[in-house]
Symmetry: C2
Subunit: 149 residues, 2 copies
């Protein structure tokens, strides 16, 4: 039971790391969150799929270039684990600055899938949960939670 809780916490940390990378608009942090593989998939809201890390990295570079400030408040997180695969569903409550004065608030529902990998860390190998799939879609009838992001 404690081990299960430990695994769930590590997966939640990997999910948070992805959103921290997005908030920092940092391609280096985004690189750390994802598995660099030809068959990772990323579906941004309203878009078709990007396949493979090279195309996905390029899509994040373009998004970061076109974003001034973005803040995430993650709610409704559901985690399911299957051996070395974890499926996370969560609601991204997003505040984004669109010009000097206006904050735009929106809700995006996300399916994030992570795979447990052995990653070299200095001279040791550690297991890490890396993102292999992201699918985000805008919630049309979004009601923001009654808190500040």
């Amino acid at each position: 039971m404690d081990e299960e809780k430990g695994i769930e916490q590590r997966i939640e940390n990997s999910n948070s790391r992805f959103y921290e990378a997005f908030e920092c608009l940092s391609i280096e942090k985004m690189e750390e969150a994802w598995k660099h593989s030809d068959n990772t998939i990323c579906i941004h809201p309203g878009w078709e799929m990007f396949t493979g890390w090279t195309a996905i990295r390029e899509s994040w570079t373009r998004i970061f270039e076109n974003t001034r400030t973005i803040k995430f408040f993650i709610t409704n997180t559901k985690i399911k684990t299957f051996e070395n695969i974890a499926i996370v569903v969560c609601l991204e409550n997003i505040d984004t600055v669109i010009d000097d004065e206006n904050i735009f608030r929106m809700g995006v529902i996300a399916t994030n899938i992570f795979e447990e990998q052995n990653v070299k860390n200095n001279s040791d190998y550690n297991s890490e949960w890396l993102m292999i799939h992201h699918h985000g879609s805008v919630v049309t009838n979004y009601i923001p939670p009654n808190v500040s992001v």
Copy 2:
């Protein structure tokens, strides 16, 4: 290699079964396609998540009641398998009749996740790939393929 191809074919068949159930507007066929579990998740385009088979079934009932005719032409299918879990991403090219004369064409990108399950079939147990997760989102800049659905 042949076994891998066999598994991929069975997963593709399960994916097709889901879209056939949708085309038939048949709740019985939809019941056969899904795992009836409290932690299955379904995200319809523009919606928040439905969690658990009871809520998901109810959402399909309502969608079927409000749909006259719908046809799917599935393209760009990508399948990844991990032990007893399969992730399918595909583009749903959809024709739906909105009134007597007008067909509305749209593109929805879907993440469909299946879990291999032992299902009782008469007196035997057979393995089946059942849907545990569906996430669909509308493609904004959709260009339909040059074929009829």
